[in-house]
């Protein structure tokens, strides 16, 4: 029977791994992720989960253990944050290159130095080019739903890629919210057991992902690119199907809010998308035509959706909880790249906000919107990258 529970996003991620009937969990603790693998350890210990729980000596080993388990044909899960994710970097390429549909929760935390335990997206966005699908969640319910959806997506034969489910540390990870957990039979019906694209077999031994000569390597890369394109289409289908069955839908790749007639569209990721909706409502009370588009899937990037939004809007404001040093926020770059070549593209203003866990409230976003509207009126972005609330 479906039930509503009140718990933190980290515990909810644990409930999702249980609901997905994950068979192998490889775990190494790191703040603010730790309570995910603690919750799962509890489930395995008390018999609620019939899984192997492998305690490893590092995040690199955690990912490699998941690769081994997935290659043996079972559903796998792990979770990490910040420096743990950075340590996994090499193994992330092995997971995607071997086409293993591992699902991992990444509880976003700013990178050191200097040390921080608070959220921004610099950890997961640094893994942009590893061939992992990247989802960003706005609330605890979405964390649960996206983990279930991700297994369905990643295990599809047209995809066979791993995925990160990103959620901001503390803002979500340690915050209690009510979450509806569907009936287990209905989840089982939605998410059938994992069928591997290839599987290790002791009776017919082979090694995988071996040395490939220059005449074949490019083709393997191209197949990953094709899988990403397939994922773009499937994410939307799976989101719709999930919505029909369980009542929660997130707009597929981009969650759009009051964009239909908007002059200005606020582009965000993660929890900033929730604040942006409040900001939109407040701005609309003043008669300002503002909409919000939360990029839910960063890889594959929703290029076509950006172009569709650009048909209506005169101005885009990207709010990045991230900085690519020496350039700008990644979201700003990707949005501009998506629009290049369009006939009359909207102006794009880039804002850097919320690094290292600084709050990005609806008030902050209203300020960003008003500055953007000013630039829209004069037809010129006066400052290409604006750091919000920076101390002078």
């Amino acid at each position: 029977m479906a039930q509503t529970i009140i718990d933190t996003a980290n515990h909810i991620a644990g409930y999702a791994a249980k609901a997905a009937r994950v068979k192998v969990i490889a775990a190494y603790p790191i703040t603010p992720q730790t309570t995910i693998v603690e919750k799962i350890a509890e489930f395995v210990e008390n018999g609620e989960m019939d899984s192997e729980y492998i305690r490893v000596e590092s995040e690199h080993s955690a990912m490699v253990a998941c690769i081994g388990a997935a290659a043996a044909g079972v559903r796998t899960f792990t979770a990490t944050s910040a420096h743990g994710l950075a340590l996994m970097h090499e193994a992330l390429h092995w997971a995607s290159g071997s086409r293993l549909p591992i699902v991992m929760a990444v509880v976003n935390r700013a990178m050191g130095a200097p040390w921080s335990i608070w959220p921004d997206f610099s950890d997961s966005l640094s893994q942009r080019d590893t061939g992992w699908i990247q989802f960003y969640c706005a609330d605890n319910q979405e964390v649960f739903d996206t983990i279930i959806q991700a297994y369905k997506l990643c295990e599809d034969e047209r995809v066979y890629l791993p995925a990160m489910i990103c959620l901001e540390g503390f803002i979500l990870s340690h915050t209690y919210m009510p979450v509806k957990i569907p009936d287990q039979n209905e989840i089982d019906d939605f998410l059938p057991p994992y069928k591997a694209g290839w599987i290790l077999d002791v009776n017919r031994p082979f090694s995988h992902s071996n040395l490939v000569s220059p005449e074949w390597y490019m083709e393997f890369r191209y197949m990953i690119q094709e899988a990403m394109e397939n994922a773009k289409r499937l994410i939307q289908q799976i989101d719709k199907e999930y919505g029909k069955r369980f009542g929660f839908e997130y707009g597929g790749l981009v969650e759009k809010y009051k964009c239909e007639d908007a002059d200005l569209i606020l582009l965000t990721m993660g929890t900033m998308g929730s604040e942006a909706k409040i900001a939109v409502n407040n701005l609309r009370k003043e008669g300002l035509k503002v909409g919000s588009a939360r990029i839910r899937v960063y890889r594959p990037f929703p290029v076509e959706e950006m172009r569709r939004l650009a048909e209506q809007a005169k101005m885009f404001a990207t709010i990045d909880r991230h900085i690519s040093f020496g350039m700008e926020g990644f979201l700003a770059t990707e949005v501009k790249a998506s629009l290049a070549g369009e006939k009359e593209p909207p102006l794009v203003a880039g804002f850097i906000a919320g690094l290292g866990g600084r709050d990005v409230t609806s008030e902050t976003i209203v300020k960003i919107a008003k500055k953007s509207l000013k630039w829209m009126k004069i037809g010129k972005v006066e400052k290409e990258t604006e750091w919000v609330d920076l101390r002078d």
């Binding site: 290159g97 071997s98 086409r99 066979y160 694209g197 290839w198 017919r204 031994p205 082979f206 090694s207 995988h208 992902s209 071996n210 490939v212 000569s213 005449e215 074949w216 083709e219 393997f220 191209y222 197949m223």
Partner: protein, 94 residues
């Protein structure tokens, strides 16, 4: 691999390599030093057979080792590991 697949559509998701004899050709030609077994000293302990990284030593029915010179690259690991010094390395031209 190029001998198996002609187009991208026939390719697997990731390269899968099954064990095969001599996919790189007769690697014995790479050898500079040649291991030779003195069977009067050999105790049939099979350590050389276990350590050979190229599986170029086969184990006979009485456990005596036999070196396959078509594939032995002459790395010398067997000679190094042999506890009774029954294997010695000799320069090929000698």
């Amino acid at each position: 691999m190029s001998s198996i697949h002609k187009t991208r559509k026939e390719m697997p998701l990731t390269p899968l390599s099954y064990p095969t004899v001599g996919s790189m050709g007769k690697t014995g030609s790479w050898r500079t030093f040649r291991p030779e077994i003195d069977y009067s000293k050999c105790t049939r302990c099979t350590i050389c057979w276990i350590y050979c990284p190229d599986a170029a030593i086969t184990r006979q029915e009485d456990d005596s080792p036999e070196i396959d010179y078509e594939y032995c690259k002459g790395c010398g690991i067997c000679a190094n590991e042999c506890p009774v010094k029954a294997i010695t390395m000799h320069r090929e031209e000698e």
